[in-house]
Structure formats: structure tokens, C-alpha cells
């Protein structure tokens, strides 16, 4: 696959201003194609209205586009029904909502909740705090030497006290991928519900929630070429129906009386207030963009770039690649002997090369690896081999500067 740089206006704009811009930070957030930007401006400039109740043409059109976006998501994750697709403001918001509305009301002291050592803080702290609040136990499943969830340890930990298992599909720090299907099967066998953090999975493989059989799955649009402020919670219909509303307000009620309120049906029940309509429409356009290329194609492109990077960086002495063998990933973390990740990132930034240095919101993982920080590269459809060669040259320069 050719690089799709030309579809992303930021690169041409940077060039026009005489700035180099090589973007290796897509795991934090992807750049936006023109089609996504256009979808948003067309809404704001062409048919802007609130959704839900207006009888005039922009309201109808906005409501239609909002519904279409939901249906694109339904198709994208393979959900049975659009009722199973709840718009949130992002992954973090979605996870907090499940923790509050699904787990907390039934969690009791001595119950257990499982997460893994590789979780992003957003899929760690909400469960930890819920456990603290209720006196329940948070169990952190360790990783194998290949940096994936240790299934033997998971099996050994699962028992009937485990109410919930929250795991990421792909490590945002290392790129390694867990076997979600098996984890779900094991968890269901003891009656636990499973939430899958798919933030880094959406561009790595075609998601099929029915095959995965997970109870909840979440991701953010902004990592998928979509806008900020919008994310998805997929949930099995029966579970979403059973849960108390995620929040309360306009749009999610049926009848409001002084003493009680009855609630609307799914998905409205869990979406109080004016939604992020532009966000949903932008996400719809982002999914169209992804589908027009194909998730498998994107994943292949990214993995090839990672392989090439592994090849080149291994030629630099003192570079230490982490989870080097995670072959089909789009993320690659490394350190360099004697040079701190932040110094590396600052040097690269001065050359217009964007990477991330730090703990990547995975302090428990870094602690387990005995590292204070890494440099993280993450690849996407606008990257190419030449950029990786430039990265290599820059790293060699850094080495000799600090050497």
C-alpha cells in the first residue's frame, strides 16, 4: 500500500510553512483525513441542528446522519443491533460509565475484579477505585515474557468471586496483542463479565463482537482518524437494558414526574443531553475512510513499517527494542543506553519527528519492566519507509551528540 499522506491536509500545510513533520505518534491520536474534516464542516455549515425532536429540515438531516453514524459503528464492530452502540465522549468515559452503572451497583466486599499489568490507566484506575470504594479486590494479571497476558495466571486467578474482567486487546506501549476470545471464554466460565479496551485494536484487525463474545467493548474515534470528544461503548443488549442509565437528563427520559422518572429505550437511555453530533458524524466519516482502505490493509501497512523499523534500529548499538517480536503490531517502544527518552524525543521533535516519550499512561507496566520511561513509535497510513530512514539517521546523531 502507498502512503496515504496526501489525504491528510496537515502534512501539506506543514510543508507549505516549511516545517518538516514526520508523525510517529498515532497510538496517541491519529491525524485526520480531509473527508473527516469535511464531514464536520458540512454539518456545521450545511445542516446544523440539534438531533431528536426538531421537525425542520436541518434537524431531520442531522438526526439521519447521527443515526447513520451509529449504524456504521454497528457494522464496524459487528454488533447485532444499533441499540448496542452507545456514543460516549471517549474510551475513558465509556469505561467509567460501565464501572459506575454496571459494576458498582452489584459489587460487594470480597468480590474480585481482574485487570492486566499492561492496562492503560483509563482501564485500570476506574476499576481500582471501584474496588477501593466497595472493599473488593483488584487482581492484576501478570504478563508472559512475550508481554501478553499470561493465560495460565489468568486461569489460576479466575474463580466465582470474580465479577468483572477488564482487559486491553493491544498494549498501547508495546503493541503486543492478547487473545481476547480465550480470555472471554475463561471469564464467562466463572460468570464474570468482560470489557475489552479496543482503543488500539480498531486498526489492527477487523472487530467482530459476536465472535469475541465480549460483553462490552470500547474505543475512541480520535485514534481511528476521527474527531476528539467521541467514543463508542458496545454492550450486549440485555446488559445495557439491565444497567442503570449512564447519566440522567434530556433525551433519555420517557416520563418525568416529581417522584420518579421512566427512561427511554436503548440506545437513548444511556445518552443523556445533547450528544456530540459533529463528533458522531465525523466518526462515521472516519469509519467510511477506514472501510474504503480495509482494516487488514492498514494493519499490514503498519506492521511492515514496524518490521522495517526493527531492522534499522537494531543496527544502532545501544538501542534496546521492547517486545521486538510482536510482528503484526503498529507500535514499537525502545530505549537507548545512557540517553533519557525525553532527551531523545526533544531531539527528534527539533527535527520535526514526532514520537512519544514517557510511561504512556501505563505506569504499572513500566514498573513491572523496571523502566521509568520509553520512547514509543507508532505507525499509520501516512508513514513510509523513507521516514523511518530519517528517524534512524536522527537517532545516530543523537547518539553521537550525547556519546
Amino acid at each position: 500500500m502507498e502512503s496515504l499522506k496526501s489525504e491528510f491536509p496537515i502534512f501539506a500545510n506543514a510543508e507549505k510553512e516549511g516545517r518538516t513533520f514526520i508523525y510517529f505518534d498515532s497510538a496517541s491520536s491519529t491525524q485526520k483525513p480531509q473527508s473527516v474534516i469535511d464531514a464536520i464542516t458540512e454539518y456545521y455549515g450545511g445542516y446544523y441542528a440539534n438531533v431528536g425532536r426538531g421537525l425542520y429540515w436541518p434537524a431531520t438531516q442531522a438526526s439521519n446522519e447521527y443515526a447513520k453514524a451509529r449504524d456504521k459503528v454497528r457494522n464496524f464492530v459487528g454488533a447485532k443491533s444499533a441499540k448496542e452502540v452507545i456514543f460516549t465522549s471517549g474510551t475513558t468515559d465509556a469505561i467509567n460509565k460501565v464501572a459506575n452503572a454496571v459494576l458498582l451497583p452489584t459489587l460487594e466486599a470480597d468480590d474480585q475484579v481482574l485487570v492486566s499489568e499492561m492496562e492503560h490507566h483509563s482501564n485500570f484506575v476506574p476499576w481500582q477505585q471501584a474496588c477501593i470504594q466497595k472493599g473488593a479486590d483488584l487482581k492484576v494479571i501478570p504478563l508472559t515474557t512475550a508481554h501478553t497476558i499470561d493465560l495460565a495466571a489468568l486461569k489460576a486467578t479466575l474463580n466465582s468471586k470474580v465479577k468483572f474482567v477488564a482487559i486491553t486487546a493491544v498494549s498501547n506501549t508495546l503493541g503486543t496483542k492478547n487473545d481476547i476470545k480465550i480470555i472471554v471464554r475463561l471469564a464467562h466460565a466463572v460468570g464474570a463479565l468482560v470489557l475489552v479496551d479496543a482503543s488500539q485494536l480498531t486498526l489492527s484487525e477487523r472487530i467482530d463482537v459476536q465472535k469475541l463474545d465480549c460483553d462490552f467493548l470500547t474505543f475512541s474515534a480520535h485514534k481511528l482518524f476521527g474527531p476528539t470528544g467521541i467514543g463508542i461503548l458496545y454492550g450486549k443488549q440485555a446488559l445495557l437494558e439491565r444497567a442503570i442509565p449512564f447519566s440522567y437528563g434530556g433525551g433519555m427520559v420517557a416520563l418525568v414526574n416529581q417522584d420518579e422518572t421512566t427512561f427511554a429505550d436503548l440506545p437513548a437511555k444511556h445518552e443523556a443531553g445533547t450528544p456530540n453530533i459533529a463528533g458522531a458524524i465525523g466518526l462515521g466519516a472516519a469509519i467510511d475512510f477506514v472501510e474504503s482502505i480495509g482494516v487488514a490493509q492498514i494493519a499490514k501497512h503498519n506492521a511492515a513499517l514496524r518490521t522495517y523499523t526493527v531492522h534499522l534500529l537494531n543496527q544502532i548499538e545501544g538501542v534496546n527494542l521492547l517486545a521486538e517480536d510482536a510482528g503484526d503490531a503498529s507500535i514499537l517502544s525502545f530505549t537507548m543506553e545512557g540517553i533519557h527518552p525525553h532527551d531523545i524525543a526533544t531531539f527528534l521533535a527539533e527535527k520535526g519527528i514526532a514520537v512519544r516519550a514517557g510511561h504512556h499512561c501505563t505506569q504499572p507496566l513500566l514498573k513491572s519492566m523496571g523502566l521509568p520511561a520509553t520512547v514509543r513509535l507508532s505507525f499509520s497510513v501516512y508513514n513510509d519507509q523513507r521516514e523511518i530512514e530519517q528517524l534512524k539517521t536522527a537517532l545516530e546523531e543523537i547518539k553521537s551528540f550525547f556519546g
Binding site: P341, E350, Q363, P372, F402
Partner: protein
Amino acid sequence: MTEKLKQLYKTQILKHAQNPFNEGKLEAYTHLIKAYNPVCGDQFDLYINIVDQRVIEASFTGYGCAISKASTSVLAKHILGKNKAEIAVFVADFLKLLDPNGPQPLEEITSDEELMAFAAAREFPERLSCANLAWLALVKELFPD
């Protein structure tokens, strides 16, 4: 290597990062100051021995980027012999050096090249928290609230 960047990592800073002043623990000390930046994982322990109101010894241990390490090293070196009032002025001046809206020319603040080198951080606001890490921790310890 851009000019801006060379400024940031001026020989002064690299020198301190690579050959820091008094790295190690003190045998006897009156203050142990823990400086930690959770955002990047940088972590330093600063040991200070104050006798008769004056700093007679200072050292540090820890791990961090070149900027944070050098700035900790420079701190340990320069507070030697100072009393609390002098430290207050000294730290305030250093923070002015880092402030993008701080005084110009730098000579208004200091004539010490080792300190002045850190003014390059004015161009790198993201690295501010590296350059002032140990300094803010010191202020917190010596001048609570």
C-alpha cells in the same frame, strides 16, 4: 542539530548531566528532598546539610533526563554556603531564567554561565518541568506553603 537545540543542551548542561556535582548520598544531612515528576518518571533525592543556618553540604541521587539531572546538579552545587534567605532569592532568580516571559537580557538575572544556560528552556516549554523539578521540590521543603 538546530541552534535552538544546541542552546538547550549547551555544554554547560551536558557537562553537569554527564559529570554531575556530588552525586551520591550524604552521610549526615538535615534535609532529604524527594523530587518526582510522575509525568516522565524523573526522580531525584536531594540531600542537604544545613548547619548554623547555612548549607554546608549538598548532593543528590536519582534518574532523569539530561535537563533535569543537570539542573539538580547545578542546584546542589550552587546552594552551598547559602542561608535560607539567600536560597529564596537564588531559586526565584533561576525560575525567572526559565520563564518565557522572564527578564531580558539574562544578565539582569545572573552572570553565571552555568545558570544562564538553562534559559534555553524558555524555548522548550514542554521541558520546563524537567528544568525546575528539583528546584520546586526544594522550595516546598524549605518554604512550605
